[in-house]
Amino acid sequence: MGIKVVERHGNTFKEKIYLHAVFSGMKTTLKHFTANLRDASNLPTLCYPEQKPTDITPRYRGVHRLTHRKEDDSIACVACFMCATACPANCIEIVAADREDGRDEKMPQVFNIDLLECVFCGYCVEACPCDAIRMDSGIYSVIGECREDFIYNKAKLLSIQGISKEEFSLAK
């Protein structure tokens, strides 16, 4: 074990009268002030409604979407209720139904996500065995005029496009 000797500051006369440090700090802030006053175009501030953020990646947890199967573009969800069980906010409502086309046994008849309840934790995405629900839509602002507008149903969730490279469900 080596002993690291930390240099103590604040005991010299120059440091004790504060003024040197005060003025050097003021010099730094003045540099920022004058540089920004001269040319404000370098500021990292985003004027939000006009300028949109450019750093939303596929890993950003935006609004959910339901994926499609690659073979026939039908819904990938098998109504296993894993996401609804994992959901801590209890915002997913699923009603299962028999699947008639022979692709699988079950599919959701109703699949509602209440975005006002949702905490965007991503547990549903983790839980899904079929890669049927994803949050890679990149949508960060959800707007509605009444509470019902925030309950996204199956058709709506299926219609949302993702921003990641994989468009379809990756489940085998």
């Binding site: 003024l19 700090g25 003021m26 802030t29 006053l37 404000a40 501030t45 004027c47």
Partner: protein, 420 residues
């Protein structure tokens, strides 16, 4: 004319204290933003006119005025609770009354003082009311019946007691140097030159001016000495229980107190309303030359401003075309001012006394706003002092230093006078 000239300093006091508060709040926000690499308020507008963001502080004031006047039910001393913010506000406002905005104007052998309160005891008035301002804080903290409020009030009072002593003593050495307590005479003393520098208090008494400026920061409870409202420790300090315009009065009082101590610093240490090296009679005699200088200055600054605005006002708003309006106003005003000034500069009219008075107002305003900038600049540079460090700085460092400064000043002044 007579009435106008007598009322003028009163109107100016209102302008410098009350009307500058929205501008100061705006400056605070914009300068803070630019120092921290942000933009600051730029959205609030009236039909597309944003005035660079000043509309935001007007909107804030409107909000504070029209908010519900909430009175917490646990407060027993309602009268003191309600009177405390107005006391802080009033004393901050009254501090301003003795600041001379221009030299005494003499027209037709009648002289008009450009102080709202024409007294020679200006410094004493300032000290009295700057001290009284803290009384509003103490009363508010006590009447709030809240431990955070009372802690903030105790901090404020202890701090002011500690720093008022150093402030008064640093003023004493200044008074010895100038040999007067009249603020007007101090300003005229500073028109001399000291070696090659103008004989400003800042150059003659550097130590006293540093002590005075530091104590002025502490006296107005501005950062880095704002432990009285240290939100990281005691919520909001003395104004924890205040809302709506009662809080607004405290808020405005802080800015007016800042403006008042800035004005006194300008008057005592930065040559007041006078240009360096030039006294009033020299200004009056060479007024034409000065006017030409101002005309050149006005052209250059308005051109620079227009270029800067064209670069930066790129954010399109609905409503009127802002850039066009500002350009028209700036060009129109500059041309109007140049026409008026050249009328006098070419010798068609004779209003040198009034012109010099206006020039001195302008010089005072520029210096005052520079001081405001410094106050804001320091606030957004320095972190808050820890409370025991504040006390230690006040009692252990500033007080002995100001005492020593008095002795040195006295010896030097006696020596110089003895030599004469």
């Amino acid at each position: 004319m007579n009435t106008v000239l007598i009322l003028l300093p009163l109107v100016l006091t209102l302008l410098y204290s009350l009307a500058t508060v929205p501008v100061l709040v705006w400056m605070e926000r914009r300068i803070a933003a630019l120092i921290q690499d942000r933009l600051g308020p730029n959205r609030c507008h009236i039909n597309g006119i944003r005035l660079g963001g000043i509309i935001q502080s007007i909107a804030d004031m409107m909000k504070l005025v029209f908010k519900e006047e909430f009175l917490p039910s646990h407060i027993k001393n309602r009268f003191y609770y309600l009177v405390a913010p107005s006391l802080a506000f009033m004393s901050a406002f009254l501090t301003f009354m003795v600041i001379p905005y221009a030299d005494t104007l003499t027209i037709n052998e009648q002289s008009y003082s450009m102080q709202a309160l024409p007294t020679d005891l200006g410094v004493l008035w300032f000290l009295a009311f700057a001290g009284l301002g803290v009384y509003g804080i103490i009363l508010g903290g006590w009447a709030s019946h809240n431990k955070y409020a009372i802690l903030g009030a105790i901090r404020a009072s202890a701090q002011v007691i500690g720093y008022e002593v150093a402030m008064g003593l640093s003023l004493v050495s200044i008074l010895i140097t100038y040999g007067t307590i009249s603020l007007n005479e101090m300003v005229s003393y500073q028109t001399q030159s000291f070696f090659i520098f103008p004989a400003w208090g800042l150059f003659i008494q550097p130590l006293a001016s540093i002590i005075f400026i530091v104590t002025a920061f502490a006296e107005t409870n501005r950062a880095p000495f704002d432990a009285a409202e240290g939100e990281s420790e005691i919520v909001a300090g003395y104004h924890t229980e205040y809302g709506a315009m009662k809080f607004g009065l405290y808020f405005v009082a802080e800015y007016i107190a800042m403006a008042a101590s800035g004005a006194l610093i300008v008057t005592i240490f930065l040559g007041g309303y006078q240009l360096p090296y030039l006294n009033t009679s020299e200004l009056i005699n060479n007024f034409e030359l000065i006017l030409w200088g101002i005309i050149a200055f006005a052209i250059v600054t308005s051109l620079l401003f227009l270029r800067w605005m064209k670069q930066h006002n790129i954010f399109a708003m609905s409503g009127l075309d802002e850039t066009k309006i500002y350009t028209t106003v700036v060009i129109g005003f500059t041309i109007f001012a140049i026409l008026v000034m050249s009328y006098y500069a070419l010798g068609f009219g004779d209003a040198n006394e009034v012109g010099v008075m206006l020039l001195q107002f302008a010089v005072f305003t520029i210096k005052l706003f520079f001081l405001h900038f410094v106050f804001i600049w320091v606030r957004w540079t320095l972190p808050r002092f820890r409370y025991d460090q504040t006390q230690k700085l006040g009692w252990n460092i500033l007080l002995p230093l100001s005492l020593a400064n008095i002795f040195i000043t006295a010896i030097v002044v006696v020596g110089v006078n003895y030599g004469n």
